[in-house]
């Protein structure tokens, strides 16, 4: 017998979710005999018309208010298999119920009323489905009877909502025009009301979806849930979140990198198989004495999870009070339970339009979704949600109040190398670049930005620095502001002084990179020969040198002219200005080129990160 398919019904309030569920329950004969008759009699006694929605609203308060107030789970069976229906309320204030219901679903049905079309909650729910990792989506365009069963209206809603889903990174399995009130295309499709629709009914489409399987093929993640001392043995109990664990496997426990071999796999009443796969709640004993406790995550040595004090995540917030920058919360990720502080909030999504603005915010309000950077008190063990979902999501709580959830995704974290010896930081040998890198979790490098004034070097340098910093990496920007006034204060703007200026920049950058920092230099540095000198100096010291050509046509830079320098140069007030009366020599073979007149700064930074982060990883 295969597991039930859990399907969540979401959508804007009054678009007919409860009616649709009631109709399915009645038509699949999933209710006890007499239930429908009883409801019909109760309605008649109160002078009400019977509605299919009443089937679900079992609690008296709901019938009186005529709204669904909490997540409801109910089972039904088609000819194909067993289902669990999760009804998630559409009211905005019940977002927490929608999340509770939808988080465990295999598939979702988004109900959109044909007369009203997609509304705010239709879009918000769509976006939350993406966040919760639900990929199997069916859109039920309900109340087609109120739109005169019009194909044109259906196609219009289909086109608009499909475009929206694409934007948030989803695709629907099917759009189905139906009427829950009348019964068209719910469990049967006779084509009488909508002869133009050739597809199968909602129920037949559901029968084609798949139950989410436990990810046995992913890397092993075995979070320790508890330790039981029995007789003289210590049993480490937990649920295998992903991968497979076998007797004899060498495990590494994060954080702290303790290693030990699996001696036995424990079950009751018998021990059972010599391995356990994703989804299994088991216990293990170890062949070596190591200190392991709840919150530690076991993995194989070759494929360990990431570990950092800082994470970036897309967070949805359900708390009544806003999430505050510099506020402290409890972060729970599998069995880890750590204190964290909010470092920053940005890219908050506008609930009505679903546009996100990349401005810094001081808070994330109730029902908002945004990018949040968190600093944890002790190292957090995690994966990107895209690679190992269960280790890439967490909840935020204040005391015992669960207030929000987060998905760690999109970010590229430097891979962590298991530390072979626990004494590595204490031995007496020389401190090498490798050892600095091992301690920092990444290598140092010089990222050399070059380009015309106004091409966007400063903007990119600042944004890049922030991205690296948020990944808990050591980074620093060198620019005219912090070098001209101190180290280079004796230099003017003669050709000789300019060359010397760049030489000093190159030397300082090399030293800082050798010390383990990712140095970003932001200078016009117009001459190939000067840049070549900086490159050679870095390479001689074994430091990675990444030349980034920040490219924009002179006309564009002159148009931008944020500091008014081009105007002065054209007026002859500024002599030897690069691009006007001094040459700029573009790099011949730079590591990275970004075209700032064709892409937004964030895109340029993303492009640089993609190339740069792999270069910073440990060997």
């Amino acid at each position: 017998m295969s597991p039930n398919l859990k399907v969540v019904f979401v959508g804007h309030v009054d678009h007919g979710k409860s009616t649709l569920i009631g109709r399915i329950l009645v038509e699949t004969r999933s209710l006890p005999p007499g239930k429908i008759e009883g409801l019909r009699r109760a309605c008649a006694a109160k002078g009400q018309t019977f509605e299919y929605a009443f089937v679900l609203d079992a609690l008296s308060e709901e019938q009186e208010q005529n709204i669904t107030i909490d997540t409801t789970q109910i089972q039904f069976r088609s000819a194909g298999r067993d289902y669990v229906i999760i009804d998630a309320p559409g009211h905005q204030e019940f977002l927490k119920n929608m999340i509770t219901g939808a988080a465990s679903a295999d598939a979702a049905i988004v109900v959109i009323a044909a007369d009203e079309g997609a509304r705010e909650q239709s879009r918000r729910h769509g976006q939350l489905l993406r966040l919760l990792g639900i990929r199997q989506i069916i859109v039920a365009v309900n109340k087609m009877d109120l739109a005169a069963f019009s194909e044109e209206r259906f196609r219009q809603i289909e086109m608009e909502y499909a475009a929206f889903l694409r934007e948030v990174g989803l695709a629907a399995r099917a759009f189905i025009p139906l009427s829950a009130g009348n019964g068209e295309n719910v469990t049967t499709s006779d084509g009488r009301a909508m002869p133009w629709f050739a597809g199968p009914s909602l129920l037949s489409t559901l029968d084609q979806l798949e139950v989410a399987t436990s990810p046995a093929e992913l890397p092993l993640r075995f979070p320790i849930q508890d330790v039981f001392r029995m007789d003289k043995r210590r049993i480490f109990a937990g649920r295998v979140e992903s991968g497979t664990i076998r007797i004899g496997d060498l495990l590494v426990f994060s954080p702290h990198n303790k290693t030990a071999r699996v001696a036995t796999i424990e079950r009751w009443p018998g021990q059972g198989a010599e391995y356990a796969s994703a989804g299994e709640s088991i216990g293990i004993t170890l062949s070596d004495h190591v200190f392991v406790e709840r919150g530690h995550i076991a993995s194989h040595e070759t494929d360990a999870p990431a570990e950092s004090n800082r994470v970036q995540a897309k967070v949805f917030w359900m708390g009544q009070d806003p999430l505050l920058v510099s506020g402290r919360y409890r972060l729970k990720l599998v069995t880890q339970d750590v204190e964290c502080q909010v470092v920053g909030v940005t890219n908050v999504i506008d609930a009505a339009t679903l546009d996100s603005a990349s401005v810094e915010r001081s808070e994330l309000r109730t029902n908002e979704v945004g990018d949040v950077t968190l600093q944890t008190r002790v190292p957090l063990v995690f994966d990107n949600h895209d690679s190992v979902p269960s280790l890439g999501r967490f909840v935020l709580a204040d005391g015992e109040h669960l207030l929000g959830g987060g998905i760690i995704s999109g970010a590229i974290y430097t891979t962590r190398q298991p530390i072979k010896s626990e004494n590595i930081f204490w031995n007496e040998s020389a401190i090498t670049a490798e050892r600095r890198a091992a301690q920092n979790g990444h290598r140092g490098a010089v990222v050399w930005l070059t380009g015309l004034s106004g091409a966007g070097k400063s903007t990119i340098a600042a944004a890049l620095e922030k991205e690296l910093f948020q990944r808990a990496m050591h980074t620093y920007v060198l620019d005219g502001d912090n070098l001209r006034h101190g180290l280079n204060s004796n230099l003017g703007f003669s050709p000789e002084d300019r060359a010397e200026n760049i030489r000093r920049v190159g030397e300082v950058a090399k030293l800082m990179a050798d010390a383990g920092t990712v140095v970003i230099t932001s200078f016009i540095s117009p001459y190939r020969a000067d840049r070549q000198l900086a490159r050679e100096s870095a390479l001689k010291a074994g430091v990675e040198f990444v030349e980034v050509f920040v490219d924009a046509p002179l006309a564009v830079c002159e148009e931008r002219d944020s500091k008014g320098l081009y105007q002065k140069a054209r007026a002859g007030l500024l002599k030897g200005f690069t691009g006007i009366d001094a040459p700029y020599e573009p790099p011949e073979d730079p590591e990275i080129v970004v075209h700032t007149h064709q892409q937004a700064p964030q895109e340029s930074v993303g492009q640089i990160l993609e190339d740069l982060l792999p270069r910073l990883r440990l060997n």
């Binding site: 017998m1 597991p3 609690l59 789970q73 119920n97 508890d226």
Partner: protein, 271 residues
């Protein structure tokens, strides 16, 4: 079987996960045990979760209207599994003359089960109770969550329940409050029977047909009625259930005494 666990495996693994989370979160916890089929499945899952040594006591609320077969089974199981058992009777109510002979079933059930449970909670100061309720038993249980906080009067605020997702639960409680932990929420009646069959879990004989009748659900003997059935083995019961659409609790009188009876009982602390 890698990556392709069965429906029962998935239910079992999730229930064990919940039991372990509860045991870690609550230091003073008990598990009510009625010796009924669901209760015995819960006991079996607890034995699995804790490798045969359950770290908390079981609680039997003895209404004094128990079937003798159930008490016999209780004593056998206590010895068999090495269970720490606490038995609680609302002696005040019985001494005050409350009983099925003189009172309606809702009143008696409330006094001998719900009030007795509250008395035991007060005596032992438990911060959590593990219960064997299932969503499919009753419409109001469809809205239950795995961890469900109850106030000092054991009341359930079903209109404002905490969110619960990704295996993260509300695990704390204010003084006087307790949390109901409900590991069997996702199981159906037929799941319970299939699991009893697969694991060969011992259950009382009353569930099996004798002279054309058997008990489908067990409560106090004056208000629990057998159903017509010839199912004398677990296999026959499963076959019978697959062909029926009658509600499991149809033979339990307190559910049908008045409209919304179950909702009212449960809001006041009934399990």
């Amino acid at each position: 079987m890698i990556g392709n666990s069965s429906h029962l495996d998935a239910l079992e693994n999730h229930s064990v996960f919940i039991l372990r989370e509860a045991n870690h979160a609550f230091k003073n916890m008990a598990m009510p045990w009625s010796m009924g089929k669901d209760s015995n499945v819960l006991l079996w899952l607890a034995l699995k979760a804790f490798f045969g040594q359950i770290p908390f006591p079981l609680l039997h609320i003895d209404t004094t209207y128990e079937f003798p077969e159930m008490l016999e089974f209780r004593d056998w199981a206590v010895a068999q599994y090495g269970i720490r058992l606490i038995v609680k009777i609302n002696t005040e109510a019985r001494a005050g003359g409350i009983g099925y002979e003189t009172h309606d079933p809702v009143t008696v059930t409330h006094e001998l089960k719900t009030v007795a449970l509250k008395q035991a909670l007060a005596e032992h100061g438990w911060d959590a109770l593990i219960t064997g309720i299932r969503r499919d038993e009753d419409a109001t249980r469809a809205k239950e969550r795995y961890f469900s906080p109850r106030n000092a009067d054991s009341e359930w605020n079903y209109k404002n329940q905490p969110p619960q997702f990704w295996g993260q639960f509300v695990t704390g409680n204010a003084p006087g409050e307790h949390v109901r932990v409900q590991p069997l929420l996702d199981w159906t009646e037929v799941d319970i029977w299939r699991y009893i069959q697969r694991e060969k879990i011992p259950i009382p004989n009353l569930y099996f047909a004798r002279e054309g009748k058997r008990f489908r659900s067990l409560g106090c003997h004056p208000i629990t009625h057998p159903v017509v059935s010839n199912a004398a083995t677990v296999e026959e019961i499963i076959a019978e259930l697959e062909g029926t659409r009658t509600s499991e609790r149809a033979g339990r009188a307190q559910d049908h005494h008045e409209p919304y009876a179950m909702q009212k009982l449960r809001a006041k602390g009934f399990m």
